[in-house]
Amino acid sequence: MLLSSKNDSSPKFSLDVQHFLYGREYRAEELPFSEKVIKTHIKNGYVAIRPAVELLKENLLDLLTGRKKWQCRRCGNRDQEAFAVCTCARCRKKCVYCRHCLNMGIVRSCTKLVTWSGPAPKAWASVNSVARLCSWNGILSEEQTAAANALDQALAAGYSFLIWAVTGSGKTEIIYKAIERSLMQGHHILLATPRTDVVRELLPRIRSAFPSITVSGLYAGSDDNDPQAQLVISTAHQLIRFSDCFDCVFIDEVDAFPFHYDPMLEFAVRKAAKPGAPFGYLTATPPPGLRNAYLMGSLRGIKIARRYHGHPLPVPLFRWIGNWTRFIQHGQLPKTIHEWLMEKKKQGCQQFLFVPTVTLARELTEILQKEGFERTAGVHAEDPDRHTKVAAFREGKIRTLVTTTILERGVTVPGVEVAVLGADDPVFDACALVQIAGRVGRSPDYPEGDILFFHNGKTFAMVQARHQIEQMNKEGGF
């Protein structure tokens, strides 16, 4: 359908194309419209088109060495190792393609990305509302209330805001006030997170807090894809399909390990947001850029140094265990670990054992089962039985869970204790260790518990993590 605007001399555009493309970005081959229709829209300035994989602006050194550097305009990838060349049957040339976002459909150097550049659809700008939208009626602590107000005021004034909150500070409810105000202004809101788990956990909570709002949850395999939703909760990967869409953005990075600081999240979120949209950052371990901006005063923000239950964060203890992987390879359990596990078994505690690799998780699980810790299971991010094992752990059927990754946030098993085996491994940077330590003592009934770093030589990351936790406790008045 072609729409004619009031001024008859001005060009026309199709409502279908507008609705399909507005706020989105597609590969040209994904469009359900004819090439002719799209070309007319491009000519009249309603649709923009650009190559998906482009050469980065070359610096002098690259020019001298003749080295080419690529970037993916869809996912922001600039890691040259994540590009590859293939003889392309479409353009009959050698094409460079991005390996980083293959799961969203391949983009090659001959692929075109298409976005809407005309006016917003009328239905999109929904009417302002004066009725209350948030039906959550829990009570915020004093600190949470202060943070909620400060966040709301900053975002309302168009400023980005950092909530630097310790793990277990209960921060989801802190953003409700700002969300409600933004929705009342007819805004479209994005809640972005690196983890599928978090999307799945937040979706029902947000839906029940905002019952009259359309909320959509996007993650790999989700079928919930309402393009007109007023509030979208999404993983970074799924955001790849958005462009210039949201008026206000929240990034929830707390407990993001092992996906924290994926540069793609940042890129995809920037692309999905409208220019100038304010950002609300929620994190326990702000990346250096955000932390410095906050400390220098160029980014507004607030620190929450206390958990909602008012107890301090458990501080990690370091235990040297020598070359422990040798033991594991020989099917043995290092003595120090055995002793700790025996003690925990007597006390009837449940524990997470973090290890650096999937292979180690498998081997350690076998050894533990052989050594009399029968109620042990191993789990990793791609484990198909992951949800069953986690459920069994939550029910207490499994006592010890060996894992390579932080499990979903819902797994706050009261009284759980944590050990990191090989805390000196480079996969455990300071942030990961802080977040892992943050699994302990979340429940008000069990605010304490062991957090042990078993290592073969202290690393800077371990010391940093312990320092950050002690610092937060100090700021929390302990």
Partner: protein, 256 residues
Amino acid sequence: MSGSHCLFCRAEKREPLTFLSLLSPDTSTGFCLSCQEQLERIDPLYSCRLCGRDLHSLEPAFVHDQICHDCIRWKQSGRNGLYGRNYAIYSYNGFIKEVMTMFKFRGDAILADGFEKELKKAYSRIIDHRLRFRFLNLRSGGEYEAIVPIPLSRERLVERGFNQAELLARKLGQPIVDALIREKNEQKQSKKNRRERLLMRETPFHLKNDQVRIVTGKKILLVDDLYTTGATMRLAATAITAAHPKQIDSLTLIHG
């Protein structure tokens, strides 16, 4: 595009440090140890002499003289023609299925590099074997003279961007002869009933006119990613047979 990360899972490749690896660290593109372990290599000494499948996983009742029951059925059908046998490197399993999904359907063409070493190794093992047993069968011994990848239809090729069989064939390090054309056979096939299709009266493959000369009187090795029922190979062989090659065998990355 350096080789410090696994080509498939992108984990850092942590090879065990040995004296040799210290002297010449393996920086080639490839799969990490954990991915390699998940690939099920077929034991060449105990694989079907005709289709190359791993015989360890078959009931002994289904194997006669190191030939599997499927191949016996093919033999009895009398439809093998000039087609000799297939060689395969890996058995089909959940892991290689994932790798092939990334490779073929998501378009991650560079994954072919990860199989380069094994493809080359398999090829020289085959040639070695053929040279050694040359005296037994003069007609079919020795090197292959033309390596022909199984093509995709034009439509499929454009959709996918590349032909996975050709990428794998190129890794053998031998010249490739792009001798075949594949028709877009969907409608054509659907008009026939199942029995007709199984009888394979008609092949979707055609020999390119200008390639007839290259194929005539030659020993041909067809290359594909997967050998399943063996029908594709025999259909391709039928198309080539018109040009009177000396012999047609095939090599696939996977049997399953």
